[in-house]
Each structure stands twice: as structure tokens, then as C-alpha cells.
Amino acid sequence: MIKVRIPAQLRTLTGGVGEVPMEGATVGEVLKGLDAAHPGFAERLFDEDGGLRRFVNVFLDEEDVRFLDGLGTPVADGQTLSIVPAVAGG
């Protein structure tokens, strides 16, 4: 089971819940599963080419998946995937 952390802006899609348990072998699979369970995530997270939107960061535990294999990054039971708005800081 993968724990997915949802930012406040997207909790309308999950009925206000901040953490959702999901299954999947890669980051992309987990996020697509999230959209299947709670429709609306895909258009918020992915651009027209199917990549992560510019202003969306996704972290697998402590690491930005852009430093790993992006949406193809393998995930394992017990890990946490966090969706975090990118426009912050500086």
C-alpha cells in the first residue's frame, strides 16, 4: 500500500481527506489510480503530453520524483507519495 498525501487545494476531490491509500508499481500508476478512484486528479496533475504540470511537484518519501525516474519511478509498499504545489519560496 502506498500512502498519497493530498494538498488542501485538491482535497475537494477526495471529500476533504488529506491522505489516500493507493496501489501501483510506479508513481504514474499510483497517480492514475488516484484519478480513477477520485476523478479530476489527472487534469490537475498532468499536462497535455501526459507529463507532470510545471507547477506540480511530486515527492516519493523525501525525494522529488524529477530527480528519480519521474512518473516511471518504481514505488514500494509503505512508501509515501506527496503532491505539493511548486510555487513557493524565494
Binding site: 506527496s82 505539493v84 504545489p85 513557493a88
Partner: protein
């Protein structure tokens, strides 16, 4: 931010209405602070959260210009702000707005300068503050943040880790005003005052070229916006055509790298530089900064840490201004772009020096110090002077 795509929101104004009331005289009769430009800031308040940010000196830098082979060069000396950096501009705007919106707690993720400013302005406003910083910041920045009595959390991680934590905290603490997260739209507008002041101090004229350090990229884009707005409301007679160039340290240069590669895809990096105030590996406004640089005909370059230290010493030696490492990045990049002919001697150039050197004294350890340590006697002094003169002669041969 935009609730749909998470992109940054841009503040717009009723420029016709502003133009109908604003005038050079109205600005000149205002306070000697950023609040003289209140007509072009996103908050109205008779008593803003204010320590006197802004209206810092614009210094003609002929000696530095001569060293760099430039003509008319000016330094915008933002080391003179109340807590020693340009962050006082953005924080004064952000917390004035936050207080109006009913927030009771001022918070931020910071590389140090912002931490200093948020803690100080929160104290001034009687607000609680919660400041999160990387655990390995320069001591002066940590002390200066802590002295104001707010809560300070040193996070075992990089700035990008701290930033991520704060972005997540905004979901859990909706009553806190994270100045550079959930009230960032207002906050960022404060940087326009750098452009407003430069134009006013040049006699209501825009420069030809500005060199701006890049952390998140916000300041750079807002400086460009500031010049454009002044023309739009009639304070500049001619439409400004300001080339905007960006400065980064090589150890954290995602924008300079994208510029050099001719791409608009900014790849996040893991920072490794002494310029900690610019050490943002995943810059929120990087794409916008790159777009501003390219569309204005500017350039973006990166310099080594050794060049940063040279930049700090060069500015201090030629103009008597002691900048922190970010200022060293700006001056070293200015030198590089001047040597490459990108910044030209026929241009009126302004370099943004945005933080005080006392904040980052560690960076200069071992590179500057007393000429000699002597006994309190004339003989000892004479001997040390002679020894120094000899070594100076040797090193100049």
C-alpha cells in the same frame, strides 16, 4: 496561486484609475520608503507593517565601472534596508496584507534574509511568527532571526526541503500567513519598488540594463514589471526598454543552465554554493525569469564561488559597499557579462546589491583580515608597515 494548475497569480491594477491620480509630485510627497508607491502596491493601509523598508541609495559607481570597462554604472544598495536585505520590501507588503486578511501568525521558508525580515516585521506588527530555515545557515542570519522572539525551526535539509515542508504546512495550518507560499502573490509585488526607486532616483528615467540575482526568479520578473508599470501610469515619458540580465552561482544555476542550453525547461538541481541566499534548486519563478530575460534582450550567467568572493571584495574595494554572497554573485556576473560584451559601456547599467555583507562573514574567512597584529609601539608599527610595503611590492611585480 491558481487553484487549478497551481501556477502563480499575477496582480493587476486599474491602471487608468491609478494614472488619473498618481504623479511625480504625489510620489515625492510620500514617505521615504516603499510606501511612497502605495498606488502600485496590492494593499492600502493607513498604518502599514513598516520598519522603513526601501528608498535605499542608488550609488554612482565610477570606480567599479572603470575596473569593468563600463560607462555609467549604478549600484542599488539594498544592504541599507532595516534588516539588511531587499526582503524588507516584500515582507512589509505581505504582512500588511496578511494582517488585513485576518492572519495572526506570520510564517515563511527562508534561506536567511527572509527569516530576518519576517521575524522583525512580525515583532513590529505584534504578530506571532514561525520561521523555518535550513539548519546550516550562516550564524548571523540565525541569531538575527531568533532575537526577535518568534519561533525558529532549523530543518535538517536543504532550502528546497524547507520549502516543501512549508508548502505542505499551508494545507495543515490555513490560519498562518506563509509570506512566500499562501500570500506570495502580494509579497512578490513588493520587489517592484526596486524598479520604481531606480527610475525615480535617475530623475524618472529607466536604465538601459539591470543585473539582478536569481533565487526563485521572482525579484527579476517584478523589476521588469515595475518599469513597465511606471510608463503605463504616466510616470515615465518614454516606454522603457530595459534589458534584464540574471545572475546565479554555478553551484545553483538552473536558470543560467536553461538559458545557455536554449531551452525553457528548467531542471531542478541540488545546490552547492556559498551563496546560500540564492540556493534554490527548484526556482518557483524560474520559467518566468527566463522568459523576461530573453524577451528583454538580456542574458543569464553563472559564476564560481571563488568569483563570488572576488565580487564581494571588488565592490567593497571600489565603492565602499559590503555585500553578502548574493551581492558577490551579482557583481561577479556583471563583470563576466561586461567582459563578454553583453553588458556594454554605452549602456546606463544598474546592478542590484540586495543583502549586507555582515550576514555572511563566514564566506570571507581566511581571505581578508588585519594587515598585521602588532605591539602598541611605534617601532612595531613601523616594522609592520615596512614589511607590508615590501610584500605589496613583491606581489605587484
Amino acid at each position: 496561486m491558481c487553484d487549478f494548475c497551481f501556477g502563480p497569480l499575477e496582480v493587476t491594477y486599474d491602471y487608468e484609475r491609478v494614472a488619473a491620480t498618481i504623479s511625480r509630485e504625489r510620489v515625492a510627497s510620500g514617505p521615504r520608503s516603499i510606501w511612497r508607491y502605495a498606488d502600485l502596491l496590492p494593499v492600502r493601509d493607513a498604518a502599514p507593517v513598516d520598519l522603513g523598508a526601501g528608498f535605499t541609495p542608488l550609488v554612482r559607481a565610477d570606480r567599479l565601472a572603470a575596473e569593468l570597462g563600463l560607462g555609467e554604472l549604478w549600484i542599488k544598495d539594498d544592504t541599507a534596508n532595516p534588516t539588511g536585505s531587499f526582503k524588507d520590501r516584500v515582507v512589509s507588503v505581505a504582512l500588511t496584507k496578511a494582517r488585513q486578511l485576518g492572519f495572526k501568525v506570520a510564517a515563511c521558508a527562508s534561506t536567511g534574509n527572509l527569516a530576518n525580515s519576517v521575524a522583525a516585521h512580525a515583532a513590529r506588527a505584534g504578530m506571532d511568527s514561525v520561521v523555518l530555515i535550513p539548519h546550516d545557515l550562516e550564524q548571523a542570519k540565525v541569531t538575527m532571526t531568533s532575537v526577535y522572539g518568534g519561533r525558529v525551526f532549523a530543518v535538517e535539509g536543504s532550502y528546497d526541503d524547507v520549502n516543501r515542508l512549508c508548502a505542505e504546512l499551508t494545507s495543515e495550518q490555513p490560519d498562518w500567513a506563509f509570506v512566500n507560499v499562501n500570500v506570495r502573490t502580494y509579497y512578490a509585488e513588493g520587489s517592484k519598488t526596486l524598479a520604481f526607486e531606480v527610475a525615480e532616483q535617475l530623475g524618472w528615467q529607466a536604465p538601459d540594463h539591470v543585473v539582478v540575482p536569481i533565487g526563485s526568479g521572482s525579484q527579476l520578473t517584478k523589476v521588469a514589471k515595475g518599469f513597465a508599470e511606471l510608463h503605463r501610469v504616466g510616470l515615465l515619458d518614454e516606454e522603457p526598454s530595459v534589458r534584464v540580465s540574471g545572475a546565479q552561482a554555478e553551484g545553483c544555476s538552473p536558470v543560467a543552465t536553461a538559458y545557455a542550453e536554449g531551452t525553457d525547461a528548467i531542471r531542478p538541481v541540488k545546490p552547492d554554493t556559498i551563496a546560500k541566499s540564492l540556493a534554490i534548486g527548484n526556482p518557483a519563478d524560474g520559467w518566468y525569469a527566463l522568459d523576461t530575460i530573453r524577451s528583454s534582450g538580456g542574458a543569464c550567467a553563472a559564476v564560481t564561488d571563488a568569483e563570488v568572493l572576488d565580487g564581494i571584495r571588488l565592490l567593497a574595494r571600489t565603492e565602499g559597499i559590503f555585500a553578502e554572497t548574493a551581492g558577490g554573485v551579482t557583481i561577479a556576473t556583471l563583470a563576466k557579462l561586461a567582459a563578454e560584451g553583453v553588458v556594454r559601456p554605452d549602456e546606463r547599467v544598474v546592478a542590484m546589491v540586495t543583502g549586507h555583507g555582515l550576514k555572511t562573514v563566514e564566506a570571507l574567512a581566511g581571505t581578508v583580515g588585519p594587515t598585521a597584529t602588532i605591539a602598541p609601539t611605534l617601532d612595531s608599527f613601523d616594522e609592520a608597515m615596512a614589511s607590508h610595503a615590501a610584500s605589496t611590492q613583491r606581489s605587484s611585480q
